[in-house]
């Protein structure tokens, strides 16, 4: 199938998904308090958009900042864990333990320390997205073919040169895989923190909406989140295709 046809098919199927949701809701007479129909959500989104806009920006800001910090920390920790067996033994159990804890329990502590608002949202977005990045970077480094490292070793390269020239490029497919997970988690983290303590952000909107049973506003918030997630995913996909093209090579034969 050609690229274009696949695009069209995908779009059609995604559209079909929403259409089915709509039809099922109408057919089963699902109450809009429980699960609003996509058209209702879209309508709410449209009419309330001016009100939502600053909240969207707020959440996007917290998420991206937290995500950026999380990527930096995650890569650093991942490199440490992937290259040092001591770090592996120490940091992995601690990280796993910490990641098994629901962040809802941690956010109040952030709030108590840093007050409510943007800071805890950024921090939550950060801590929640570190773990997948660490795991994937560490795995990527650990599974690097020794033969490739040998190339640099014979040249007398230092460990950091080997890391930069072999380990990290080799771990890029792992890294991008983790980014997709991490960015969705970042959104979840930021929103979570906003639901607990913030006057702004989608999380706050959702909390207000849900405590007032404005279900379609709640779902509008969820839609916005999903859309932002997909948009960032698209950005990473684009980068991924450029950076890790070597790993997903497909032979291109000209057919005349």
């Amino acid at each position: 199938m050609s690229n274009l046809r696949i695009r069209i098919c995908s779009a059609a199927l995604i559209f079909g998904f929403f259409a089915m949701w709509e039809v099922l809701c109408l057919w089963l007479q699902v109450s809009d308090l429980l699960l609003p129909r996509p058209t209702e959500i879209a309508a709410t989104l449209w009419t309330r958009f001016p009100v939502l806009w600053p909240h969207i920006l707020q959440t996007l800001y917290s998420t991206l900042t937290g995500f950026g910090l999380g990527v930096i920390i995650g890569v650093t920790l991942g490199v440490l864990i992937g290259t040092s067996r001591l770090a592996y033994g120490v940091a992995y159990p601690l990280l796993v333990g910490f990641s098994s804890i629901p962040k809802v329990a941690v956010v109040p502590i952030f709030v108590l320390w840093f007050g409510s608002g943007t800071t805890p949202a950024i921090l939550t977005a950060m801590v929640i997205c570190v773990f997948p990045i660490v795991v994937n970077i560490a795995t990527g480094l650990a599974t690097t073919e020794p033969e490739l490292e040998d190339v640099l070793k014979t040249l007398g390269a230092s460990r950091s040169e080997i890391l930069w020239n072999v380990g990290l490029p080799r771990a890029m497919p792992y890294f991008f895989a983790s980014l997709k997970v991490a960015v969705t988690l970042s959104f979840v983290g930021a929103v979570l923190s906003e639901t607990v303590a913030s006057n702004r952000g989608i999380g706050n909107v959702m909390m207000t909406a849900s405590s007032n049973f404005q279900t379609s506003l709640l779902f509008a918030g969820l839609f916005v989140l999903a859309a932002m997630g997909v948009a960032l995913y698209a950005v990473f996909s684009f980068l991924e295709a450029r950076v890790t093209g070597w790993a997903t090579r497909k032979t291109d034969i000209a057919v005349t």
């Binding site: 308090l33 429980l34 009100v51 109040p108 709030v111 108590l112 320390w113 840093f114 007050g115 409510s116 608002g117 607990v196 303590a197 913030s198 006057n199 706050n204 909107v205 909390m207 207000t208 909406a209 849900s210 405590s211 007032n212 049973f213 404005q214 506003l217």
Partner: protein, 317 residues
Amino acid sequence: NIRFTLGWKTQGSDAPFLLAAQKGYFAEEGLNVTIDQGEGSAATVTRIMGGAYDAGFGDINAIIQNAALRPDEAPVMVYQLWNRPPFAIVTPNDRGITTPADFEGRTLGGAQGTPTTRLFPVFAALNGIDLEAVEQQNMAPNLQEPMMIRGEIDGAFVFNITSWFNLIANRQDPENDYTWFLFEDYGMDLYSNGMMVSRRLLAENPDAVAGLVRAVNRATLEVARDQEAAMDAIMAFDNLVDRDIEHARLTFSLTNLMNAPEVAEIGMGDLVDDRLARSIAIVAEGYDLERLPEPSEIFDRAFLPPVAERLFEVVLN
């Protein structure tokens, strides 16, 4: 600089604080107050004890609970707003529950740890219900009404001010189709929300506390007379809420929670120590407290303006 936390997300009943902020009453007292939304009227106490906030709108019963354990850290109530408790058990009429005794053999739902749920054993004892015979199910507050409507539970431990409007949002008629067992009608004459401040603020900056109380008092009396202006302040703070519902909620809080007979005598913001002592005993029983705090540990009326300046008169418009 004062960091102030509300009891929950923005609600009509928060009007006194938001109006004071919007009209600049805090500024007039030389205070720079930043108001944040909260995570629950009990969490207000934790937030203040943790030091993240200096003052907040929260539940006096949570103060009692904490004062029993950590007398030096628990915040102090300085301006009592809700003279009557919102604690209630709500049940749809079609379940045929008309007296507390009917709860036996039924399932009631509620969030664990909210005062209504926690004080139910006392409620049961006072009204001769066999606690063992009542099944309780834990669930998040915003699930109570839908679960009740779907018939999964027969009643819910609620705050009437919240649940009333949740039922309206769920297209129910809370007035005609539901029975409300208000705790105050069943021997549990508790106080509830008011403005509390941290011990530290109280010790280090009593003037600020006085200013805070003055500003809030002024705004409260104004809210009682002019709800439209109050609503404007609320919408300015948070334009996500539904103005009509919050207006109704504000009215509800003014008439059902704040406008008690007692208030006419002692004025808004104050309370009666004997009644507080009684409620401390009730709370202690419900929460298995080892120590009964003194009323003076809980409430400090030193900052209240004279009664004449606290005369509360509700004019609905």
